[in-house]
Subunit: 377 residues, 2 copies
């Protein structure tokens, strides 16, 4: 289902190598699921196990080399990657470190070895092993990743956009069926379980993220797991899902009124729709992430977290951040979640979210857009 | 549903502080979901978003301090943690680093600051920010975590064991219903989707892991996602799930024969049951992880990955590893997955998996144990 060809991966490699050359990097050392998948297509849920590190060395010239646990060889051999080096992980004494250092010495004998180190990244290997690697490669050769992965991954190809569009459509169909599983008296935890079931029925490969909340005047936060508290007449229910199809996420939410919502909830909902529309209008190539934030913030004002949206794709949330501080210039092909939130007077929060892709002439909405009054269930 | 009391968390803290004092640590700096949840009970799926770092400082004396993004305050306030310090993340210029350094200086002015750095760990924050933190705190004060978290988390309390037992029971009920969703002609991808649905129906909070495979003589590996290939008569189907209830995993698989399996599949299955029984007998307090490996390896021999099981709990896989090299001494309260695998002559692999907890007098099986011939579907 991935739809990616070897030519797609070679295109990514070429663009990466141009950026690496510009930054003076001899190679990129990648350790995380999305970064490694970006160049290889290696897709597995096995990353859920923290036991084994995985490495991809992307040299400034030549092809990527996978340095991975033997358990992954069969799956990596099904990708376009030809140079696959394995060790029998876990191996406590030397868990791939000397094999990795040797590989770097061979395919990138010169230049800096860049590791993604900036905002939204982490190094997925034991810190002590990274220290040993630095000693073996030469600490003076180890460098930051110069934002190469951020630059590349922020702009999506048409195949990636199609995958995200499919994920949005799946979630949209599941959201349209929420009335089947939620209503007065139903415990929130059961709604969460059943909604994930609906996502699977509608075509999700898996459902890595679901959050939500319910209350008469909004919800306390947007990251809590469900409790067994039953939905009550007058509650507003919010469900926010990041489901995956073909390795790509959607990330949007929907709000529902259990019976008739309070007038201040209706008013908050109205301002969220207005803020979303302002965000859509502001999301054009050449604008900055902070401009889109400002357009929404002018309407909803004073968001507690100060972030009203973000990129998405291979991960639930990616760069850029729609905040006052993020001056990233928007480019065609960027996929964004607009996520305005607003306080309900005397109560909690209301949050609304839509996904879009930037085109030359503005935003194309990928999620089946919410309009009009709050959906009653 | 968590069932943990503040006294449980205080008990963990006390044990941690004793180990820290022994290791000469002034504090532990924790950055990952399970490590932070271990001391706080902070449970959210929001970790799926890589955008924001989260920190917990556990001083050698006194109470833990949460240094977290503002978006997490409401949920952290519902835990027993009283000292919660927030910043409006994401903040590109200083994403919690100076607040964290200041906190460390205040609650742990002396001694080394240990960060989990060993096998199966990683540092969940941008590497560049960690460099800044080291400079602020003093690089000479930064140290490895001395295995404190490994030592603590490897031995489970009765509340933790009960949660894992519940997760095992949920998966067991879902596995018992596989005949409803799988059979000749059904695409594997549909089986994967429907099986996750069954897990949710039977009580899973969410299903972070599902892998599997199918083929007439076993499967090529145990980490691949599903394809659209339909199940064929004579295939053996394997589903391996790690589902979560109350924040705790089970991790076991089941094999099914579509019609009548090949004789060499029956023979392989028989040796897996024997190896499992040998592992169960060997899993006693005082034995080492490598002894349990050896007991199973004597029967199945020559496993490609060299690992025939592992710990589990807050993560799908934890310490120890059942390998020839892991000399961890087993203690009552450790929860293990026995996972023998064997090659099928002329074909692929067969893998079987059960979960158990170590008691004073031996193993108590937590998964509804598979016995007898392969289940026909």
């Amino acid at each position: 289902m991935s739809g990616f060809t070897a030519a797609d991966y070679r295109g990514r490699l070429g663009r990466a190598q141009a950026l690496m050359a510009e930054a003076g990097l001899g190679a990129l050392l990648l350790t995380t699921e999305p970064d490694i998948r970006y160049f290889t297509g290696f897709l597995t849920r096995f990353w859920e196990s923290p036991t084994r590190p995985w490495f991809l060395v992307v040299p400034v010239a030549g092809e990527p080399v996978a340095v991975i646990p033997a358990i992954g060889r069969a799956l990596m051999e099904r990708t376009w990657i030809e140079d696959i080096r394995c060790w029998p992980a876990p191996a406590p004494g030397d868990d791939g470190v000397s094999l990795l250092a040797e590989t770097i010495g061979e395919v990138a004998p010169e230049g800096l070895i860049g590791t993604p180190s900036g905002h939204g990244t982490h190094l997925r290997m034991p810190l002590a092993d990274f220290g040993r690697l630095c000693a073996l490669v030469g600490v003076e050769r180890m460098a930051e990743g110069a934002g190469v992965m951020r630059d590349l991954r922020m702009v999506k190809s048409e195949v990636e956009i199609a995958a995200i569009r499919t994920a949005c459509a799946v979630a949209g169909r599941a959201f349209a069926r929420v009335g089947e599983v939620a209503g007065e008296g139903v415990p929130l935890a059961r709604v969460f379980r059943d909604f994930q079931r609906l996502c699977l029925e509608e075509g999700a490969d898996w459902v890595p993220y679901l959050a939500g909340g319910a209350g008469p005047l909004g919800y306390a936060d947007v990251i809590s797991p469900a409790t067994d508290a039953p939905l009550a007449r007058g509650d507003v229910l919010m469900l926010d899902t990041g489901l995956v199809v073909g390795g790509y996420y959607c990330d949007f939410d929907r709000n529902y009124a259990v019976g008739t919502p309070a007038p201040q909830v209706e008013a908050a909902w109205d301002s969220l729709l207005q803020a979303t529309e302002a965000g859509v209008q502001a999301a054009t190539p050449g604008a900055r992430a902070c401009d889109v934030f400002a357009a929404m913030d002018r309407i909803v004002g004073g968001s507690e977290t100060g972030r009203l949206g973000h990129g998405l794709g291979m991960q639930l949330t990616e760069w850029p951040s729609l905040t006052a501080a993020d001056r990233t210039v928007l480019r065609p092909g960027m996929v964004l979640a607009l996520e305005p939130s607003v306080g309900v007077p005397g109560g909690g929060l209301l949050v609304h979210e839509e996904n879009l892709v930037l085109r030359d002439d503005g935003a194309e909405i990928l999620s089946p857009r919410a309009q009009g009054p709050l959906t009653r269930i």
